[in-house]
Symmetry: C2
Subunit: 303 residues, 2 copies
């Protein structure tokens, strides 16, 4: 099952030629979740050869321009490409009137429906769920109401070992509970351990997205034990004051959250355009949390 991340934009408010504003694509088992949609997202989708028709769900962290100004163009392009299926957008409730007003005036013949889902910016809530995936939104600490998102693969049922099923002649009626973890008792009263009958399923994987936010211990609580954490690192520690003023994080802040939350891997992004080279961000973060990677445009990761 795919669980692949592609970074489409890694810069903060002012985009650069090679670092666009925030946008990411997370492909979980062919569900292509778009996370934030900065200006130029549709161009990046083309650059990294992601099919527009696969995107049905867009998650918007907050209503700052560098996280949403790609939406009108993307929606227009969906329409020109003949889209008919619903597009689901998960965001603060203010997005709907703003986007609707714009689209009503500029894109007069939208051939598909936009379904708006309001995120709760006060507490952690499930905002999306299907057979295989669950998505939660949780509050971040920024200048305007902002949420992070956690994408979790659901725990899959165990697979029965065909040969063992036949050997012990396990009836169909018993198989569901064995998949769920039960032992099996033969007609002679012998107990066969579940581990002998099933293949172990993989631990469900998870990805958390935290942009934009200042450092907060609460964030670490929300993302505890996540596999891969994306945390913004707009500044370096020597601009800590600027980070506080603008309610953003430093590379050290991001690493501290990763360490507290005991995640497996930290991705840092949302870099201020003042930085051309990002080596110092990586060095600063690695001092606190070794397993850190710089998530620039085009970076891909199979989780």
């Amino acid at each position: 099952m795919n669980f692949n991340l592609t970074i489409l934009g890694s810069n903060s408010a002012l985009p650069k030629i090679n670092r666009f504003s925030t946008a990411q694509i997370l492909n979980i088992s062919e569900r292509f979740f778009l996370i934030d949609c900065g200006e130029g997202t549709q161009i990046q989708l083309r650059r990294y050869q992601i099919k527009f028709s696969k995107i049905n769900h867009i998650f918007i962290s907050h209503l700052h321009g560098d996280h949403i100004y790609g939406l009108p163009g993307l929606i227009s392009t969906f329409n020109l490409l003949g889209r008919k299926s619903d597009l689901h957008i998960y965001s603060h409730s203010d997005l709907e009137p703003i986007l609707s007003f714009l689209l009503t005036n500029i894109e007069r013949n939208l051939q598909f429906k936009i379904v708006y889902h309001q995120t709760n910016t006060k507490e952690k809530t499930i905002i999306y769920e299907d057979k295989k995936v669950i998505v939660e939104a949780f509050p971040l600490k920024h200048k305007i109401p902002t949420t992070g998102f956690i994408f979790r693969e659901k725990q899959q049922l165990q697979t029965l070992i065909k040969e063992k099923i036949e050997f012990y002649q396990i009836p169909i009626s018993k198989r569901k509970e064995i998949k769920d973890g039960a032992n099996f008792t033969t007609s002679e009263g012998k107990t066969i351990k579940n581990s002998e009958l099933t293949l172990k399923t993989k631990e469900p994987r998870s990805y958390a997205f935290c942009s934009d936010t200042q450092f907060s211990e609460k964030t670490a609580k929300y993302v505890e034990n996540i596999n891969v954490l994306y945390h913004e690192a707009t500044f370096l520690e020597n601009l800590k004051i600027r980070a506080k003023e603008t309610m953003h994080s430093t590379a050290k802040d991001a690493a501290t959250v990763a360490k507290m939350a005991q995640v497996k891997l930290l991705l840092i992004g949302h870099f201020s355009s003042r930085y051309n080279n990002l080596d110092a961000h990586l060095t600063e973060a690695k001092k606190v949390f070794e397993n850190t990677v710089t998530a620039t445009d085009g970076f891909t990761l199979s989780i």
Copy 2:
């Protein structure tokens, strides 16, 4: 005096990686006029190293997304870069309420004023004038009210030849009219021809922008004798029907307008994203009007 054009975006509605949506910069004597502002214009401005602070006037041909979706991000960036001076936008009157609504909700602390100037989409009118430059808007033929723009250098006064002024002892009171083209009569009653007293000034240069439009003889009238004409060429002749349906032009249409208007040079652009290679557009146009150039992203021209 500079009269330089830079193409920032040359594609039609669906941008490609190497061909963004419509936007151009025309630098006339350090006035940086931005013409249309498709998504990603601010990224292209960075790519082609044009200073944001130099842009004070934006001309919008019509309110289709691929000509305006770069405005919110550009305005946001102006603000973040500390802009204080007024920004003048020339467009259909509907732009103001749409953009204002968006900016009021998203960009809450704009530190500069946006001055909206309404274009007349029914007849040719002067929309901008200063000491050196005059800009006219004129109607094009598209699905919604659309204008083209003509940028004209003003005729400069002739320069007096210093040695002749001294030789004929021409008084200061007479010099202005000689600059304007008058002859001079000496105290002995001898007439000195103006051409002996002055250096010829260059012919004023001009640039016309026509996007988006279907073929129209009226366009040719509006842009008669222009130096450089940019005319959209979304399609090739074999998609003439599609061109008519969408109210766009073919390469041949663009060349026909150029020929009728007797311009010096034709630039074609606004290409449909179905074309990767644009050789056929150039060949088709050149059959009708030899002096044609393909205006793709990054193309620059000193007029």
